[in-house]
Subunit: 193 residues, 2 copies
DNA sequence: CCTTAAAACTAACATCGTTAGCATTATATG
DNA sequence: CATATAATGCTAACGATGTTAGTTTTAAGG
């Protein structure tokens, strides 16, 4: 009741903090309101819906992801860049798992805005592949391939699918990335580093 | 009240039917009960919980998946087998998307039973790679790689991540599989078909 | 100071899964 | 065939979820 300086941004921030500490699965508007010493309904003065909040958090997550990836490939080209990118992607997923889950749970179809955010994920990948002289079309395909590998790997590991066998998970990942590099090299031009 | 011949199996079947027609996202015990002309609470005479039902449906889905994959690689070896497997995986995901989502949403960690079911996913993959003379350890890694590619691709496409660019999705998938084959070949021994 | 708009509140709703307790139906047993 | 018993259905209720409507309170501006 004493009224604090709440706004949309501070609520999004609080939500992110809550998700990263308590886990996405136990996040709810109730919990969020509780941490803000507010009743649940009061949240609706600042956000339109839980879905909208979710999307907003997704934007944040994608932005952080993009940041990390761009920093990773900074000054690198060719295989080195691709490996650094894949590494950064993996580390982000491991270091901020809950935030990564938010990205995964983002329905890319809905808004145009969210569709546009998808390009933020693509951009660093395209940049990493810039060294190889590929056609536009090849890059579009290859970007999908690399994303599939990285995302697929992380989400399966997260789901616990990789505990069946006692071999090092990071080795498997490196192998996956090596496969992608082989594919990249198979397109002729510029073998790189 | 007149009491029909309901049992655990028939309820699981009805749930699967409902999920495949209406979509997983709008499935609920209420809806399920409605289609069975029963009150929601009555379901608990046959199932332990919604989670248990979910798991049960997961078993079914994995079994169908395995079936399809084994049939696909039947009589094939080497690259041909791997390609057939990847193709079957993709088609299953497209033809029974809701059932595939059930597999994805299965928390592989929980039960031992569900952990065991994970091997049903691995088995056809191992079988497809049998032609290449790989060590046990290599197969464990490579199985993870292929699963990452297939699952990652399907789930990103499902999420709408691939609509950014106007290039054929199936071409991207074939390219991804080709990358995996290159990786496979890089382990020396037996180039196959 | 007093009006007004923003931000909090209370109360209610529908939906979700779930449990407890009661009624009924089918089945098996004497 | 009758009756005890277990299986299956029902109703009623809970707490949690997101959400809306209507009301009060706080802060800011004229």
């Amino acid at each position: 009741m004493p009224r604090q300086g709440l706004n949309r941004q501070s609520i999004v921030s609080a939500a992110i903090r809550l998700i990263e500490t308590e886990g996405l699965h136990r996040f709810s508007l109730r919990e969020l309101a509780r941490t803000l010493h507010i009743k649940t309904a009061s949240l609706y003065n600042h956000i339109g819906s839980a879905d909208e909040l979710h999307t907003e958090i997704g934007y944040y997550a994608i932005a952080r992801m993009k940041e990390v990836q761009l920093a990773a490939i900074q000054g690198k080209t060719g295989d080195e860049a691709v490996e650094a990118l894949a590494d950064a992607y993996y580390r982000f997923g491991k270091e901020r798992p809950e935030l990564y889950k938010v990205i995964l749970s983002l329905p890319m179809v809905k808004n145009d805005a969210i569709h546009k955010a998808g390009f933020d994920i693509v951009e660093p990948i395209m940049a990493a592949m810039a060294g190889y002289h590929l056609t536009e079309e090849q890059m579009m395909h290859l970007q999908r391939v690399l994303r599939s590998i990285m995302h697929g790997f992380l989400s399966q590991e997260e789901a616990g699918c990789f505990r069946q066998f006692p071999v090092e998970v990071s080795d498997s990942y490196r192998m996956a990335v090596r496969g992608f590099l082989l594919l990249l090299h198979s397109f002729g031009n510029e073998a790189s580093t």
